[in-house]
């Protein structure tokens, strides 16, 4: 009898492990394409946590459902269950194992975070050495200017501005994030990177795009009325195409770009909404070399 129980439990655990591993493996499909080196690291961690989470969730709900099916009280059974008030060994086990798990997860997450090295906003203040390294490696340096509600990208070496973020593939990018009014957030889901932009601070941010294509940059920190419109295209292209684009953009004369927020705001001025709720006026559409 006892051996049978142990076998049943082992079987259940094995099944749970198998299903969890399967779910963890399919977790990669729940995420957007992996377009930056950082996304590989984040997705692996995510898959790991999904596996672990699935194991715990299935374990707990499985036990619960087993109980619900097999431990129902019979209709006229008014008796009580066994008066078990606890079990010291079990209680120690389910305290110690989660503690170990927590440190394992935290340790792994920390490793991933270090490898990502996307840099916090405070880093540049006390790591001049790294600054020197980044210059030496000749990272692609781009300035990102955010305002209510537009993105402007400035390529300082060529003195080009654009409302589309062009990036060379397979090369580390160094962004200097700034905001002209409120807190905005720099977020490209396909890259798995995000950073709030605090006004009056220059925030350094780094990542490496690894896949050519078109992606979407959105404002990830709520910035007021037209928050949802504050998006920009991100184009990752080969080094050659990137150089061509820079050449092309440099030739163009700066002109006002289309801006969704400004467009909607002007429409509202002409046909005010019934609600009459006011909004902060958007910044005038950015004047840039390149826009589409």
């Amino acid at each position: 009898m006892k051996i049978r129980n142990i076998l049943i439990i082992l079987g259940a655990v094995a099944l749970n492990t198998f299903v969890s591993l399967y779910i963890g493996e399919s977790a990669y499909n729940w995420l957007p394409v992996q377009a930056a080196a950082e996304s590989l690291l984040v997705d692996r961690l995510f898959s790991f946590l999904v596996t672990l989470g699935a194991f715990i969730f299935l374990g707990v709900t499985g036990t619960l459902i087993y109980s619900m099916i097999f431990h129902r009280a019979a209709e006229y059974d008014l008796s009580d269950g066994p008066a078990i008030e606890g079990n010291l060994t079990l209680e120690i086990v389910w305290t110690v194992i989660p503690i170990l798990l927590v440190f394992w997860i935290a340790g792994y997450s920390y490793q991933v975070y270090v490898k990502m090295a996307i840099r916090g906003p405070m880093e540049h203040a006390h790591s001049h050495q790294m600054e020197a390294v980044s210059v030496a490696e000749n990272r692609e340096k781009i300035e990102v200017i955010s305002k209510q509600w537009a993105w402007v990208f400035r390529y300082p070496d060529r003195n080009i501005t654009s409302t589309e973020l062009h990036l060379p593939v397979d090369r580390r990018v160094h962004l200097a994030l700034t905001s002209e009014d409120v807190i905005h957030g720099f977020y490209i889901p396909a890259f798995r990177v995000k950073q709030d932009i605090i006004p009056n601070h220059k925030i350094d941010f780094e990542f490496t795009p690894i896949r050519e294509g078109n992606y979407r940059l959105t404002d990830s920190q709520y910035s007021g009325t037209f928050f949802a419109t504050m998006a920009a295209n991100v184009v990752v292209e080969s080094a050659e195409d990137y150089q061509n684009w820079l050449e092309d953009a440099a030739k163009r004369k700066p002109s006002a770009a289309y801006n969704q927020a400004a467009f909607e705001y002007n429409q509202e001025l002409q046909h005010p909404h019934a609600s009459g709720w006011q909004t902060i006026a958007p910044a005038s559409p950015p004047v840039v070399n390149y826009h589409n």
């Binding site: 431990h71 389910w94 405070m122 957030g185 889901p189």
Partner: protein, 581 residues
């Protein structure tokens, strides 16, 4: 004295008591509209008021979901949409979850610890009557020029201090005022609860004989006491920035916008535990009753509540991984946040241990508790993912977070709240609810919650941000599902409302203890008399003694001298002889 005399006396005491109740003024529905100092009346006042605002917040939620059923911003203005999610969050937190749980605690804690009332009954009433003031201030936002606050329930500056109308009295101004008054009310409540629990326990009711619900209320109220003042400080500074032109949080003029986030989250993350801890308490009350087993590991469960309260003070920065926080902060707070899962896990396993091999009965309350537990486990797992910095950097401020905390706040808290209302409904009203409609309510809520909030996780993983009025067409499918779930949830409250109203008026009469539950509240009449107990009981055993057949209280083997005198005086009129040898 002989046994017969005891019996006589007891019968007489009960009859006297009954007479007193009959004469008591305002024992009808009107007392719920008065400045009553009875903790049970105040408890019901809180619960009903809170539920009304649950419906208001729910209507806002459905407007949000209706807007999001299509990618374009086409139902309401963007400003109105922003006002909707700001007010949805504010109302659901400050006018539904907080007051409803305070109401439940108000009703139960004094009875569960064997007290006649709260320590400060008038303060208690005053704290409740501040809630309508909060409600008026919140709703008034819709009637001032420029509309309600639109900066989200976080009200991060500088967005919250931009004030497009230029008026002194604007939506944001009223919002801060509402939060401030709500804070005063909560602190008054917290002082009252902590004092009541520490000083008003019945004889023999030691700390480790308190029901877990009392433990969790104590932990939650301690969090209020140390957390709320930080929010108050932050909101005072925000108010100064908004109205008199100081520059505390204005980066353009030397201020520090991120500091507000620290003030805000130092309270507002622990606030989640203020909400969830009493729900843990409710689970711990309900599972033993419907499993007919003692709570597994009572002592550990009790202590883990206090540990959660303590650790909650050290986790707030996990809301700011993507803000301008330093790297070391991100890592320290990642570990501290994950540590919360240990005491929480202990509770989950303890509930499993309680249910295991029990004699399960699936009444509505048990169904809601089980459904809440399953969704809480899910929310806990996504919570661990959010605690991991690299994953949070990806999903921070996306619908993944929205899905996660709605699994907590709807899937667990609101489900737990319903469980509690069904479980204690017979006690509060003296009537039984309709079981069939209760079960329909459960299934609609359970399906609605999952349909509404599960697709949000996928949206978030694909990068859809929260607080957007319009979104890219690729996100449409999951949004339609979520919206359908949202409307289903809206519908799901209808059977509840009808069930409660009809049962309250015309339900089957409930006995003192329809669930055969163990606890002081089940020893008194339903509904309990004005001062709860004929005489304060002596508690002689731990709670949840299912299957142990030991009494919870001493069965009146003694009698006070004063009482005897009183009874003698009273009964001589009635010509009842008392043989006092």
């Amino acid at each position: 004295m002989k046994i017969d005399d005891f019996k006589k006396i007891n019968i007489e005491v009960e009859r006297l008591h009954y007479d007193r109740l009959e004469k008591e003024p305002g024992r009808d529905w009107k007392r719920y509209f008065t400045f009553s100092t009875d903790h049970k009346v105040i408890g019901i006042q809180y619960l009903v008021t809170a539920f009304f605002f649950f419906l208001v917040g729910g209507i806002f939620a459905m407007i949000i979901r209706a807007e999001l059923i299509t990618p374009a911003s086409d139902l309401v203005d963007r400003t109105v949409y922003n006002g909707m999610f700001t007010m949805h969050g504010t109302i659901m937190l400050f006018l539904w979850t907080f007051p409803s749980l305070v109401g439940l605690a108000n009703y139960l804690v004094p009875i569960q610890i064997g007290a006649e009332d709260m320590a400060f009954p008038r303060l208690n009433a005053a704290a409740f009557w501040l809630v309508p003031v909060v409600a008026i201030l919140t709703i008034a936002g819709f009637f001032v020029p420029g509309g309600s606050a639109q900066a989200g329930w976080w009200s991060y500056p500088p967005v919250s201090t931009q004030n497009p109308t230029g008026f002194l009295i604007n939506g944001q101004f009223l919002w801060i005022l509402a939060i401030f008054v709500s804070g005063i009310s909560s602190i008054m409540g917290a002082v009252n609860f902590v004092t009541t629990i520490f000083r008003m326990r019945a004889p023999g009711m030691t700390l480790f004989r308190m029901p877990i619900f009392v433990w969790t209320v104590l932990s939650a109220q301690i969090i209020q006491l140390f957390g709320l003042p930080a929010l108050t400080a932050g909101s005072v500074m925000l108010m100064c920035d908004l109205t008199v032109g100081t520059t505390f949080f204005d980066p353009a003029l030397g201020g520090d916008a991120v500091l507000f986030q620290h003030f805000f989250w130092f309270y507002s993350h622990p606030a989640v535990y203020v909400i969830i801890l009493p729900i843990f308490g409710i689970f711990s009350e309900i599972f033993p009753v419907y499993s007919r087993k003692p709570l597994f590991g009572y002592h550990v469960v009790a202590i883990s509540s206090i540990i959660i309260a303590a650790v909650s003070a050290l986790v707030w920065v996990h809301h700011m991984y993507a803000s301008g926080t330093a790297n070391w902060m991100r890592l320290v707070f990642m570990i501290s946040t994950m540590c919360v899962s240990v005491p929480t896990g202990i509770k989950v396993f303890a509930w499993l241990g309680t249910i295991w091999r029990g004699k399960l009965r699936f009444n509505t309350a048990m169904l809601f508790a089980l459904g809440g537990l399953v969704m809480f486990v899910f929310a806990g797992i996504t919570g661990i993912m959010l605690a991991a910095v690299p994953i949070d950097i990806h999903v921070n401020n996306t619908y993944f977070v929205v899905g996660h905390f709605h699994y907590v706040l709807y899937g667990t808290v609101t489900m737990g709240m319903f469980a509690a209302i069904y479980h204690w409904f017979p006690k509060m009203t003296g009537r039984m609810y309709n079981e069939g409609w209760g079960q329909i309510h459960f299934w609609l809520t359970f399906l609605g919650t999952n349909l509404n909030f599960f697709p949000m996780h996928s949206l978030g993983l694909h990068g859809m941000l929260r607080r957007v009025a319009s979104y890219a067409p690729e996100y449409m499918f999951s949004n339609v599902l979520a919206s359908l779930g949202g409307f289903l949830l809206g519908m799901s409250t209808l059977p509840f409302i009808f069930n409660i109203i009809i049962s309250w008026i015309d339900g089957e009469k409930a006995g003192n203890n329809p669930w055969r539950a163990i606890g002081l509240e089940w020893l008194v009449a339903s509904p309990p008399p004005i001062e709860n107990f004929d005489e304060i009981p002596i508690v002689i055993s731990e709670p949840y003694g299912y299957g142990k057949s030991e009494p919870l209280t001493l069965d009146r083997p003694f009698i006070e001298v004063e009482t005897i005198e009183k009874i003698t005086l009273a009964t001589t009129d009635n010509q009842v002889e008392i043989n006092n040898n």
